[in-house]
Amino acid sequence: MSEPQTNEAQKNEALKNKPSAKKSVKWGEAPKLTILDALYLPAIVSGLATAVRHAVSGKATTRQYPEVEPEIPPNYRGVHRLNRDEAGRVKCVACYMCQTACPANCIEIIAAPAPKDDPHWKDRDKFPATFTIDELRCIYCGMCEEACPVDAIELTSIYDLTGMTREEMIFDKEKLLSVFDETVKTGRDPVRTNRGKLGPAAELSSTAKDAPPPPGRGKSG
């Protein structure tokens, strides 16, 4: 502890040398309150004016859903389907790639050797005897679609899947094939994956891009 006087002088000296005392220091100041601000009323009136402006603009952003359907992008990840090849057989070769890739463990495949004596299947080794997807467990990430080496499993643009029981939400092979028939028939979902390219979640496939706009869909609200 030093003498009080010298202490005071030192303190003043120190304060003068502080960065805050330098000319280069720019002092930020709180904006000044004007009378109009403190009166509140102009702010309230302008708030009311904003509210009224929006109320009378008549530009609602709401979509009347069941009447006006949403625009579904071509790479939308909705309900799955199992694609058929040209001969109408299931494209799937039961390689288990999708089942392995699935992060939600919702795909279950039981493979069987293709019936060699049947001319219909003579160029195939394996086919899925059963192929079930639990649509309730699925997180619709599209990884099965990316993993598939033969473009057999695809996600469609069906977004309004509902069911009354858990059982009916577990889709078997026939159901998944019927989803393919349905969506291809209505033209809303052309086959969109192409082997060797990135999956549809990464880029829109060329087939989907060139496809005609789906009828009855994509009306803007």
Partner: protein, 400 residues
């Protein structure tokens, strides 16, 4: 005994039936009005937020209110284990009863001050303490909320109730003060006479002589109705549901009918006390008027009331909620001084017999108040010169 009763009933029948008819009208219309105000509020909220709002039930969603009503009437009566049952049931009823009871002295259509027999648009005409009675009874509705909060035996409910209690007590004062100026100018507590005094030209309306009083009245009344921006007793983010956290079904509806009845009351009071009631320039007064003129007056009054209701609803969607200390500060540091000074101004003008036009000078009061509070705020946020030069350690950052 019973004969006497029946006899006196017949004797007083000419006086009795208009009151009974008016009670019937109020009991039939007000709950319906409350129900439909929820619909109007939802629609306006939707339009303000660029949405569509309820539009599925009936044309333009007009039956939505009825559907809501049916739904909520059919709801299960849920009574939590921990409530004080009797009070729990009484509180919402008390809330609605006091809210409706305040309507007894309120003219809901043109009422002539000569009070001839026949139907009049008021239950109890010629009450000479009308406005006083209205204020007294409507402030009783705080009990409904406090008892409900207490009976719910839950911390959110009691916090809501305590807030509501503090808010009611604080805002009663500016409410009364603002009306006092009008009463002093009119010289009567009778609502019909206050409206009667505003007949004639547009500039007889009290709003032109008492703009500050109207501002204070409207703000305080908004607080009395527990509406945004003053809905601290039920603010969802802090208190779940406030005093009605534990209420559901029909009991919850009673609370909300009470709230909407309050809005109706407040809107009517604003229209009657400040906006000339059923008077409109060129429209003859109600005394001795024919039925079409009376209906026209009713239309004028209802139009003014709807305008006030519209402003109240729009305010809800444009202003954020107050913090509790701001709420109290607004009442005690803003509205009460304004009301007091306004009242003093009215008293000076009236007692010295000065021209009435001087009353308009009261608009300078809020401006002065704003100037004072702005200057105070700016002084408190300004950085002292000594700090700038580094001479004062106050406000400067130490680097040691």
């Amino acid at each position: 005994m019973i004969n006497n009763l029946i006899n006196s009933l017949f004797e007083y029948w000419p006086v009795l039936w208009p009151a009974l008819a008016a009670i019937g009208v109020i009991l039939a219309v007000v709950p319906f009005l409350g129900l439909y105000m929820t619909f109007v509020e939802r629609k306006i909220a939707a339009y303000v937020q660029d949405r569509v709002g309820p539009n599925r039930v009936g044309p333009f969603g007009l039956f939505q209110a009825i559907a809501d009503g049916i739904k909520i009437f059919l709801k299960e009566q849920l009574i939590p284990d921990h409530v004080f049952t009797a009070l729990y049931f009484l509180a919402p009823a008390f809330s609605l009863i006091t809210a409706m009871f305040a309507l007894v002295v309120m003219p809901f259509g043109p009422v002539a001050t000569d009070y001839k027999d026949g139907f009049r648009f008021i239950v109890a005409p010629g009450i000479d303490i009308g406005i006083l009675m209205m204020l007294a009874i409507s402030s009783l509705s705080a009990y409904g909320i406090i008892v409900g909060g207490w009976a719910s035996n839950s911390k959110y409910s009691i916090y809501g109730a305590i807030r509501s209690c503090a808010q009611f007590i604080s805002y009663e004062i500016p409410l009364g003060l603002s009306i006092l100026g009008v009463i002093a100018i009119t010289g009567s507590l009778n609502i019909e006479k206050i409206v009667e005094a505003q007949s004639g030209s547009l500039f007889d309306w009290n709003v032109f002589w008492q703009p500050v009083a109207m501002l204070v009245f409207f703000t305080a009344a908004l607080a009395e109705t527990n509406r945004l921006p003053f809905d601290l007793p039920e603010c969802e983010q802090e208190l779940v549901g406030g005093f009605h956290t534990e209420y559901s079904g029909i009991k919850f509806v009673l609370y909300f009918l009470a709230e909407y009845t309050h809005i109706v009351t407040v809107s009517f009071l604003t229209a009657l006390l400040f906006l000339g009631g059923w008077h409109f320039p060129g429209l003859p007064g109600p005394s001795g008027a024919s039925t079409p003129i009376l209906l026209l007056g009713l239309g004028v009054l209802l139009a003014k009331v709807s305008l006030v209701v519209l402003v109240i609803i729009l305010l809800r969607w444009s202003l954020p909620r107050f913090r509790f200390d701001q709420l109290m500060g607004l009442a005690w540091k803003g509205l009460i001084p304004l009301g007091l000074v306004n009242l003093v101004g009215v008293a000076i003008v009236l007692s010295l017999g000065l021209p009435k036009h001087l009353l308009i000078a009261t608009v300078i009061l809020p401006v002065l108040g704003a100037y004072y509070s702005a200057a105070k705020f700016n002084a408190s946020t300004a950085i002292p010169n000594a700090t700038r030069q580094g001479l004062s350690p106050q406000g400067a950052v130490s680097y040691e």
